[in-house]
Amino acid sequence: MTARLHRPPGRTVAHLMLWCWALLLASGLQVAAAQAPGDTHHAEQVAQLATAGFGEKERIVDALLEARHPQTRMLLAAFLDGRLASRKSDGKVFITEDADDGVALVDPVDASAAGTAKSSALRKIGTNNRLRKKLKGAIALFDLDDADAGVRLAAVDEMLRELDATTVSALRTRLGVEDSARVRRALEVGLALADLSSPDAEVRLAAVGTLEGELGTAVYNRLKTLERDEPDARVRDAALSGLRHIDQWRRFYGGVETLFFGLSLGSVLVLAAIGLAITFGVMGVINMAHGELMMIGAYTAYVMQLLLPQHTTLAVLLAVPAAFLVSGLVGVGIERGIVRFLYGRPLETLLATFGLSLILQQAVRSIFSPLNRSVATPEFMSGSWQINEVFSLTWNRLYIVIFALLVFALLQLVLNKTSLGLKVRAVSQNREMARALGVRSARVDAMTFGLGAGVAGVAGVALSQLTNVGPNLGQSYIVDSFMVVVFGGVGNLWGTLIGGMSLGVVNKLLEPWSGAVMAKILVLVFLILFIQRRPRGLFPHKGRAAEGH
């Protein structure tokens, strides 16, 4: 967790100080006398940051912490975020903020605006992992007294990673004045963890008691060492029972997590396959360019982001209908231009669409370059939903599961409740009869193919949030898509949903045990055996296509 930047309370203090300074100046006093002695020390340390090595920077952070200048938190937060820079011309250190014309500079000593500069005129003051860890710990010390309980809680969690004398005494002081129950609990856990190292067995026993019910990693590891090294039998037993309790919950949540992973992999498979379920399943066209239709959808998301660079969320949301249209139109084009001449000749369709898929890939390489393109993830889809200490769900996966179900439901609606759906089903069941009843089958074919292609484009937008957007995006999903459709039963959307989800779950159940490569192979073998027993998949379709016409 990166510590969020809050307007430091020091800012108002700084303004006050500025005023005092101005007043003092006006009254004719010497400038040097007006500056607080802390200011000079602070300024000296900050100036040194410009040229310091990483070891030196750590020492400076310590010195800054020691002095506790009002601007220290702001400075450290900027340092952590990579917003500290030195001006190339004079080596002066500034906090930078993005502005319309280059970079706005803020003085690190009195937090006053210090003009703007071009980013090329500044040299960023870098951090490394060690330093960032130190900075997070240092900022947590400040945040312990923040007005927001959430910030305080995050600060305590950060401090629990590494307890030493300073942090323990800070936690103890805070516990005295803390009023939020959640933060109090976190503080108690922290202090109990520290108490586990106490020489007094009674204190240790009490500490283990306090930790009961906690599931966190820090607690678990501490109990584990206690169970091994503890001389007192009572404390050891208490630790052991605590460990058992955690293990139990970990196993339970581990199972839930695997299930979720399976469903989320399954929903990606469903998204990739559902368009194919229409073109291959309902129309019986083997479309090898299906993957490339997804790729086009993903590139639509990329182009959308180029058009709306400042609005990541909006760009992704708009990309969904846009990708449906673009891929859908390409699909109609493919049907009108190629596929319709090859109905009833599956091998030729296969070869023609395979060739088309290569052409589309190379076209994308020529237009967008062979390099992968990045599609940024909107804020609401990053990170994870921390349900408890041992269980969390990642937002992007959760949204994609929901999205897959939504697409499925919409498609069901279209096929079952609209006149287009009725015609599609009619043509797929008996083309001659449908034509006899006045359905323009050629038009329906084009629309159906377009619908399948459009859905593939929508799947591409979802994939752009999970993986690379590149010319090869489609290739990696085409085999999986056919697999799901064949397994689920050709011509049946429910089959695709259940088939995709179960293949996902089976894959994820196998993966920890057999490894990712082997899991894929086992699933394929299972599928081949299954098709031997039930050649028409899970839910065989009863219609013209299924009669082997």
């Binding site: 992992n129 860890k133 990693t217 992973f261 390489r365």
Partner: protein, 430 residues
Amino acid sequence: MAIVKLRPHLAGLLTGVALGAASFAVQAADTIKVGVLHSLSGTMAISETTLKDTVLMMVDEQNKKGGLLGKKLEAVVVDPASNWPLFAEKARELLAKDKVDVVFGCWTSVSRKSVLPVFEELNGLLFYPVQYEGEESSKNVFYTGAAPNQQAIPAVDYLMNDLEVERWVLAGTDYVYPRTTNKILEAYLKAKGVAADDIMINYTPFGHSDWQSIVSDIKKFGSAGKKTAVVSTINGDANVPFYKELANQQISAEDIPVVAFSVGEEELAGLDTGPLVGHLAAWNYFMSIDTPANEAAIANWHAFIKNDERTFNDPMEATVIGFNLWAKAVEKAKTTEVDKVSDAIIGLEVPNLTGGTAKMLANHHLTKPVFIGEIRDDGQLDVVWQTEGEVPGDAWSDFLDGSKDIEADWVTLKCGNYNTKTKKCSGQNY
């Protein structure tokens, strides 16, 4: 697969070298032919196209300096289309039909293995510019990328000594380079006293995109109270979803750093770098290293490719070094004959772009500096650690049974795999 020939285009390029009529007078027999064997289409095009351009830039520069031995250089570009058997066919075409004097090419180990018999049969000369798994030294190949002891081993040393890592995840894509590298690393870690329980090895298919379970396993593995790091030999495309998943499961670089051997500036240019900040990469070159030679090389590259946004990376530097060494060897040997150039090149030195010199050793590998960089949000890397001076490349790993007794020496032993125990050259050419 489409096979694109770019020669007409190149001829145009050569005439543009501003030497006027002279270049028209030059006939095929009077030019030195430089073969370029990099994929320009298919999956590897993403990485290899840049190396093709790098060779063209070097040829162009050499011609501006007046060529070599009074002759102009002429690049012959073929496209093996990321198709391994096609690499062998194209290599044969370059050597037998086009009669090139030297070839710069290949990226993946499997493509190198596929052209190796061709180069040995027709006595060609190949400069291979990519970091690889070692365990090879051919008479006809010069390896200008890193051997495992010039990338993987120093990276592990850094993690062990500077970051005090005690638990190790070796994650890789399932093919020859990660498998061999991880075998070497596992042996090395065990030799350093790491328990088998503290090493987790994981392989995934090419282009793997569902990292949920694996990242969750890494998280569990890393929460046992010991500092944990991931050593990643994950290849190209699979990296983006991997780092995204790490970020989403809130594993930060401070908790579990990932050090990658296949993620460089070029790969980073195509990603949203947010989730990657602070993770590490080990290379022998970084674009961000501030030296006059590096600055000049980047400026040249930008001028040549006519795009200031393009990155410069490690295999490109290896290509530049390889080309300079070859040119120097040709001048020293006063001929482009393969055997004479091969003899002349051993012991030659050219400057690295990042300082120090690259020296061609008797085992056909180079001396190289090793850098560890932390990924920045702008896709560049900050050096956080580097070796003192250059590390000589070791063709045969000292940490693998069956390979530690083998030595490659093309000067005194005249053998690429001499067994010091049995005192025999195995007879194989590689």
